[in-house]
């Protein structure tokens, strides 16, 4: 039976990298959004510029489930190289749309799917003489065909094309013509619409569709960052680029044309963090954006910033590790290497957003926290959050909000503070006062160093001042605990002794899985952790549940280790639900894994058995 589903399906595009499909696919996705139906688009792309297979997936969900679902109900097969594997992955009853210019051997097709062939190449060859145009407009032609097949309002796509190419009338006309060709051909060739289709709705509201890296880059602009030093690395590059683009727009002095920011593409990640640390030391809000390999390279500087107490923000857009790993796939596998970065006794503040809206907010807030705490603050995104567009609540900013510049002694304050000690815990919260270079002619100068020192920043290798300092840093970490975003609790409809801990990009899939479990009478409470060190609520949640699952996107259950270390709780009886193949975790996966264990509590746990 062909699948029949209105506003609830997954469509997957199989393309060739560099063929211009990305913008056509986004156009398709946005048209559904404009019809008021929530979508979750995802790019699955290789570490390559041209030629290798790439996929684009759009989950359409009127109910608003925006995590990866798994499987596909419709396939737009534009890549001969992956045709067989793509067709094999289609759900039974699914639809295959392909370029039928060259006939396929019948044996390669399944008999439980609906096959829709359109001679796209033939159509475009007849229509366009330039080979590049043939390629590019082929993408728009299939968008037109899909509009007919899925009952998407062609007028909506028309509007989007007009907005996209505003002022470039020739391009608008050419795109509209290609769109119409596809639409008309599909109408005449197939019985439109299909069983899967889009129906106008009002479930999008004021939400926005945006990539997490854009959101974080914008958040850094709003948070007052003035110095960005970075080194290109997937998947963090677009974060620095988003900062640059928004600075160019909002941070250039209109009168002078001068920039109220400085962006430096460094020679490597070590220099990038070095520049950010130098700028933070000198009173600017500074950051770098990187991914796992960069985190490894920056370790020594993280230790310096921790020990010398220098504010700096680091965005880690996590990808598949270890080593070069899976550079274009997602994972949550840098938690431990960031939380305990560098040699010696170190620990660092992590902020863990669940998507673009929090990425914006946490990015801005990270600069306040870094200056308040005089330390490194990591914002832990991942490739799924950073490089995919997500439907989320609109960004918000209160114009009354001011930056927390932390404990900095100005000239006036130094005049009244004759006994300035850089590492003196005056307030008992572990946070000392700092001065900025050039601030006072005779007071406040001190020597910043990674070596051990006393409260007055004087070099010493004696045990007591060293311990005094290390214990103060510990006190400061406790202060941090109270300043960080609280976790988000989602209670089951009925009281439950089963608790699920989760974080970051797992959230959307977890919410859906919680609903799927509840529909089967399996009630679980969930707690989304948003920061390290942990806040009290995490401890309370653990204490009030008998069975704990921790859902992560890494092999080693890094969050479990982090919680165990931070809160001193025994976690050996917890059940990790781990998804780490590089694709985002899905509701189906989480549901299946948790449901199996809840139904058979005595069943052996494969992960522990493997250990």
């Amino acid at each position: 039976m062909p699948i029949a589903a209105v506003n609830d399906f997954v469509i997957r595009f199989a393309n060739v990298n560099g063929s211009g499909s990305a913008s056509a696919n986004l156009l398709f996705a946005r048209s559904i959004l404009r019809m008021g139906v929530p979508i979750a688009p995802r790019n699955i792309f290789p570490s390559n510029i041209q030629g290798l297979p790439t996929w684009y997936e759009v989950r359409v969900s009127e109910e608003g489930w925006l995590g990866a679902r798994g499987g596909a109900d419709m396939l737009v097969a534009m890549n001969a190289q992956t045709f067989a594997q793509d067709v094999a992955a289609l759900e039974p009853g699914g639809y295959l749309f392909y370029d039928s210019t060259r006939p396929l051997p019948p044996s390669s097709l399944r008999d439980d799917i609906v096959v829709l062939g359109m001679p796209l190449t033939e159509i475009c060859t007849a229509e366009y003489s330039d080979p590049r145009q043939r390629q590019l407009y082929k993408n728009i032609v299939y968008v037109g065909a899909l509009a007919a097949l899925l009952d998407i309002d062609i007028g909506v796509i028309d509007t989007l094309i007009n907005e996209r190419f505003k002022g470039k009338d020739k391009l608008i006309a050419a795109n509209l013509s290609a769109l119409k060709i596809g639409y008309d051909d599909a109408k005449s060739r197939f019985d439109c619409p299909l069983g899967v289709r889009v129906r106008r709705s009002d479930q999008v509201g004021d939400r926005i569709l945006v990539e997490g890296n854009f959101a974080a880059g914008l958040g850094a602009v709003y948070g007052g960052a003035t110095v960005c030093a970075w080194y290109p690395i997937t998947p963090s590059t677009s974060l620095a680029e988003a900062f640059e683009r928004n600075c160019a727009r909002y941070r250039v002095d209109k009168a002078t044309g001068k920039k109220n920011y400085a962006i430096l593409q460094a020679e490597d990640e070590i220099a990038a963090i070095g520049v950010a640390v130098g700028a933070g030391w000198n009173g600017a809000r500074a950051f770098t954006a990187t991914s796992g390999p960069g985190i490894s390279l920056m370790q020594e500087f993280f230790g310096l910033a921790y020990f010398a107490e220098i504010p700096v923000v680091v965005f880690d857009v996590q990808r598949g590790g270890p080593s070069t790993g899976m550079p274009t796939r997602t994972q949550q596998s840098d938690l431990l290497s960031c939380a305990f970065a560098s040699h010696g006794d170190t620990k660092h503040v992590l902020l863990i957003p669940d998507g673009p809206n929090e990425a914006f907010e946490f990015a801005a807030r990270a600069f306040d926290l870094a200056e308040r705490l005089q330390t490194v603050v990591f914002v832990m995104l991942d490739l799924d959050i950073g490089m995919n567009s997500h439907l989320c609540a609109p960004f918000q900013w209160d114009d009354a909000r001011t930056y927390d510049r932390g404990k900095v002694l100005s000239f006036e304050k130094l005049e009244k503070a004759p006994n300035f000690g850089r590492y003196d815990d005056v307030d008992g919260d572990g946070i000392p006062y700092r001065t900025l270079p050039g601030g006072h002619p005779t007071r406040g100068a001190y020597f910043t160093r990674g070596t051990s020192r006393d409260r007055f920043a004087r070099y010493t290798e004696e045990g007591l001042p060293y311990i005094d300092n290390m214990e103060r840093l510990e006190r400061k970490f406790e202060t941090a605990r109270g300043l960080l975003p609280r976790p988000v609790l989602k209670r089951a409809a009925k009281p439950s002794r089963v608790g699920v801990l989760q974080y970051g990009s797992t959230a959307a899939s977890m919410d859906e899985a919680q609903k799927m479990l509840a529909d089967e009478g399996l009630h679980v409470d969930t707690l989304r952790i948003r920061a390290f060190p942990m806040t009290r609520e995490v401890q309370d949640f653990i204490g009030s549940h008998d069975q704990i699952f921790v859902v992560e996107q890494n092999r080693d259950a890094q969050m479990r280790t982090l919680i165990s270390t931070d809160l001193g709780v025994a976690t050996d009886r917890w059940t990790p639900i781990l998804h780490f193949n590089g694709m985002p975790t899905s509701a189906r996966f989480i549901h299946r894994e948790i449901a199996a264990r809840l139904r058979q509590p005595a069943a052996p746990q494969p992960l522990e058995a493997a250990e």
Partner: protein
């Protein structure tokens, strides 16, 4: 090292500079380096140069990496903020500090291990970016703190204290700095204060990346026969290509050079360098001639010192980036935050 702290009081007739500071106001903590260390002489030269230029001590930021040389910022400019960063990474930290506040004067102190070995990459990129700084390498050819291993500037065939010979080609930081686009490049000797102090002063007056390689004998590990960084060896092989004096706008000094033998350069802040040419073949404005001078000296087994290359019209990093005149670290929400209205427009564009 000296065990007795210097007395704070001074004679009422002791000279003061244009800011009313005495030499003492530019000094730092007591040195903990070995007695006779070339580095202490360089610190003294830096102190003297800053005093003579009447630089406000608190407007200088002194940064360093790791090693004997990188410890020296503690022993000078006690009223300046200092940052002893990580090994080989002073250039990036200084670059960031400079980006945050373009109004301060930046002094980077490094050593041959810190710059030519672990930090070669950062050295290179700071030079090519034209970071406005004075970058001094205290070059003794050895790692002192780990007891005398060769560094990358040790000459091939020179021997360590216990007889081992350096096997690899030496890195000539001066030649590299010129090649990388540094706009002020000099070499000097810690034992030649008369040459070193004016060079440091000129470097401070220069706008852009000013690099000085100062050969600084390690009295403990590299001052023996067979070393090419010993006091005796450097004195015997030192060939000054020019002599210079700096006439600061703030502190005029009369100089008396024979007509025709000297050339003067006006620096960006209005001060003047007067150069007396000692090597007829050396043209310090010409990059290729400067490199030829270095090569000639190398072949002859000599060490060319003096101002090797100067581009007095170079642009520095902030000019290249087009950053605001006001230091970035002084900007507030008003200049930095686009506000809720702009954000609403951004939201609208994402629907």
């Amino acid at each position: 090292m000296t065990y007795l702290a210097k007395p704070k009081f001074h004679h009422p007739s002791i000279p003061v500079n244009a800011l009313g500071f005495t030499h003492r106001d530019y000094e730092g903590s007591m040195s903990t380096l070995c007695a006779g260390c070339g580095h202490d002489a360089i610190s003294a030269a830096i102190i003297h140069a800053c005093f003579e230029l009447s630089l406000p001590p608190h407007r200088i930021a002194k940064l360093s990496g790791i090693g004997c040389s990188s410890k020296t910022p503690t022993y000078m400019l006690g009223q300046s903020h200092g940052f002893n960063s990580v090994h080989g990474r002073m250039p990036s930290v200084l670059t960031g500090a400079n980006l945050a506040n373009r109004d301060l004067i930046y002094l980077g102190v490094s050593g041959d291990g810190d710059t030519a070995s672990i930090g070669l990459g950062q050295f290179a990129h700071a030079m090519r970016r034209g970071v406005d700084m004075v970058y001094i390498v205290e070059n003794n050819g050895v790692y002192g703190l780990t007891k005398g291993q060769f560094s990358a500037t040790a000459d091939r065939g020179s021997t360590a204290k216990k007889g081992a010979a350096a096997l690899d080609q030496p890195i000539d930081l001066v030649g590299m700095a010129i090649g990388l686009g540094a706009s002020f490049v000099a070499r000097s000797f810690s034992g030649d204060k008369a040459q070193l102090v004016p060079l440091i002063k000129a470097a401070f007056e220069h706008k852009g990346a000013a690099f000085i390689d100062v050969i600084s004998p390690c009295v403990t590990f590299n001052n023996h026969a067979g070393s090419t960084k010993s006091f005796d060896y450097v004195r015997e092989h030192n060939i000054a290509v020019n002599a210079l004096d700096v006439i600061s706008g703030r502190d005029p000094i009369e100089v008396d050079y024979a007509e025709g033998a000297s050339q003067s350069v006006t620096m960006h802040d209005g001060s003047t360098i007067v150069l007396r040419k000692l090597d007829a073949n050396h043209d310090w404005r010409d990059r290729s001639a400067a490199l030829a001078t270095l090569e000639r000296a190398r072949v002859a087994g000599e060490i060319a010192t003096g101002l090797i290359y100067l581009d007095d019209d170079a642009s520095e990093l902030h000019e290249v980036l087009g950053t605001a005149e006001r230091p970035l670290n002084e900007l507030s929400e008003r200049e930095l935050c686009p506000g809720s209205k702009a954000l609403e427009a951004i939201n609208a564009s994402l629907r």
